[in-house]
């Protein structure tokens, strides 16, 4: 497990981001940086706004205040066209999978390939098969999302998110609904994507084993104080955080020290 070097310019910078639904402020003053090669973990209790943060990062929701930069380009202020160009380099796995239900798995993965590359239909199908094989779903090319299990849908969603070999991959709870072995395989896959394709990963998860096994950096969102209360490598936070909530979370509720 190599720890990514935090030198060099960040590829995502979030500055004083405030997220709200109308008057209801969910989180305020989030400031953090994600560096190339990070497996960046967003942690926090259920309902604290992790998925909402992800939706802000990919432009589905607009910040109430603050801004989000990719490299030195301001995503928040960018025109729709620039945004689309930036989005094309991202892959997103939603908490519910969000597969297009009227298309087979192969078509789901093939759609972005067909839209944004000049590959032939045969090649696209081959690529789709490869991506499905990577998430342990070879042979399921012609299944519809409604014909597979929740955990399989999650993995198929990851295969689709990886379709264009994204430069940043956003993942919302990849291992929710997976058995421990598949979940471990998924962790290995994520590390492999990072190492072989230089993908930077932003991951929302509660799974302590994966957090410690693969997370290189993290932030912790708190529902009570409505802001981030810790940031840093997860193992370091577990052992040395001065915040009791964070330590309790990372020690599975057991009061430590």
């Amino acid at each position: 497990m190599t720890s990514a070097s935090n030198n060099g310019a960040p590829i995502i910078s979030v500055e004083n981001l405030t997220m709200s639904f109308g008057d209801f402020v969910l989180q305020r003053d989030l400031t953090f940086e994600v560096h190339a090669g990070d497996i960046f973990v967003v942690m926090g209790g259920s309902g604290c706004g992790k998925s909402t943060l992800m939706r802000h990062l990919v432009g589905l929701l607009e910040p109430a205040a603050g801004r989000i930069l990719y490299g030195d380009r301001d995503f928040t202020a960018a025109s729709t066209k620039d945004r689309d160009a930036m989005l094309r380099r991202f892959g997103v796995l939603y908490q519910g999978g969000a597969l297009w239900s009227s298309m087979t798995l192969a078509e789901n993965i093939g759609l972005p390939l067909g839209e944004f590359t000049d590959l032939s239909p045969e090649t696209i199908r081959e690529v789709a098969a490869v991506k499905l094989a990577l998430v342990g779903l070879s042979g399921f090319e012609d299944y519809y999302p409604s014909d597979i299990s929740g955990g399989m849908r999650k993995r198929a969603g990851l295969a689709r998110a990886m379709a264009l070999d994204p430069y940043i991959l956003f993942i919302d709870e990849p291992s929710a609904g997976l058995d421990p072995i598949s979940s471990r395989l998924l962790d290995e896959l994520i590390v492999e994507l990072r190492d072989s394709l230089n993908t930077t990963i932003v991951m929302v998860t509660h799974e302590l084993p994966s957090i410690f096994a693969i997370g290189t950096n993290s932030i912790f969102l708190d529902a009570e104080s409505r802001t981030m209360i810790a940031s840093g490598p997860p193992t370091e936070l577990r052992d040395h955080s001065d915040n009791p909530t964070v330590r309790r979370f990372l020690n599975r509720g057991a009061a430590h020290g």
Binding site: F24, G59, V92, Y94, G96, A98, L99, S101, L111
Partner: protein, 379 residues
């Protein structure tokens, strides 16, 4: 749990000299039994009690029935800053109480939508109508852009989706459209036959049915059937996709959901509506003819000739044009409501209903406008 002869729950509260209120629970406190009213006790608790304690020595059997009561008491005690001594409760009940109170209630989590008066309602409805008008305009703008890109051949959508939609809005809808149009032809003929027979002008039933169907009714009845069929389906499809985050997934992939989802539905209806209208016209005239031959003793040739003489090409083209316009309205209403749908099963249902209502209202309004404009133009 233990015996079938449940003892009824009973509840007494005594106040000691030191201000401690002792709540005594006796009998069976079960959700399936009859639980005593607790309101009086809660009021008592608010009036100068220094401590809250429990006595449950007479408590036989209990479940959530007892827990919810204790939870309510201790909640009231906390807001009134009265210390609670739970040691008198059964051990299991104490542990559940600790669990239930471990996570404090989120202060602003409860929705405050309940106690709105009429005035609030009028205000909120106006605001949401204003927001909805804005959304509708934005949607229309985006749709126009999508159509423009389609015309220039630059739009992104799946051909296979379009084929399927054409089939659904075309051949699969034909049966019901034909049936309804046939019945409408019959009805028109019956109504006019009774009147015209009195003047010995029965043959003019052919004129009336023919002109009415071809000019207006064919397109109108097709549109209303299609609003119920395709409009509702489109809203439900898009609404469900919204619930599943499928539309978000398109957007974050840089694919415009309007082009990808709305455009093919729009194109399918605009192409198919005139064709369906043509069938409706023909079948409606056939229905009229059945009445003419069967009831009015007209001959087939007489009726047919009379019809052909009455209908002009302007009538026919005007009717087909109306059909195409209604198609646009149905697709827009269905897709608009689908895209506006909330993220729940109930919201998808409302979106489908609202798509039909919106579609039919738009269609009737357009029909009225057409009548007026065509009248001015002398068509």
């Amino acid at each position: 749990m233990t015996s079938s002869l449940a003892t009824p729950a009973d509840l007494t509260a005594t106040r000691r000299d030191d201000g401690t209120m002792v709540v005594t629970l006796g009998g069976d406190w079960l959700l399936s039994g009859v639980l005593p009213s607790t309101d009086a006790l809660i009021d008592q608790l608010r009036s100068g009690v220094s401590r809250l304690a429990f006595d449950t020595t007479a408590l036989a059997d209990w479940d959530t029935g007892a827990l919810s009561f204790v939870l309510r008491l201790s909640g009231t005690a906390r807001t009134a800053s009265v210390p609670v001594d739970a040691s008198g409760l059964p051990a299991g009940l104490q542990r559940l109480l600790v669990l239930a109170e471990a996570v404090p209630e989120k202060a602003d989590a409860k929705s405050d939508e309940e106690d709105y008066g009429v005035v609030d309602w009028i205000g909120l409805t106006t605001l949401s109508a204003k927001a909805s008008a804005g959304e509708t305009l934005e949607f229309l703008g985006q749709s126009v852009i999508a159509v423009w890109r389609f015309i220039r051949g630059k739009a992104r959508y799946r051909r296979s989706d379009l084929t399927l939609l054409l089939q659904q809005a075309g051949i699969e809808a034909l049966g019901i459209v034909v049936l309804v149009a046939f019945l409408l032809g019959l009805i028109l003929a019956f109504v006019s036959a009774i009147q015209l027979q009195q003047f010995g002008a029965a043959i003019y039933v052919a004129d009336l049915v023919g002109i009415a169907m071809v000019r207006d009714m064919g397109a109108l009845i097709t549109a209303i059937v299609m609003a119920g069929r395709s409009g509702a389906a489109y809203a439900a499809q898009l609404g469900t996709m919204k619930v599943n985050e499928e539309i978000d997934a398109l957007a974050t992939m840089g694919i415009d959901p309007i082009e990808f989802l709305v455009l093919p539905r729009f194109v399918a209806l605009v192409l198919m509506m005139p064709l369906l209208t043509l069938f409706a016209d023909a079948v409606g005239i056939l229905g009229g003819m059945l009445v003419g031959i069967g009831m009015l003793d007209l001959s087939f040739t007489a009726y047919a000739q009379q019809s052909i003489g009455a209908i002009s090409v302007t009538h026919l083209l005007g009717g087909l044009f109306k059909g195409a316009v209604y198609g646009i309205l149905i697709a827009l209403a269905g897709c608009l409501r689908g895209m506006q749908s909330g993220r729940s099963a109930g919201a998808v249902g409302s979106a489908a209903t609202s798509a039909v209502v919106t579609g039919v209202v738009w269609i009737i309004a357009a029909a009225g406008m057409f009548s007026f404009v065509f009248y001015l133009l002398g068509w």
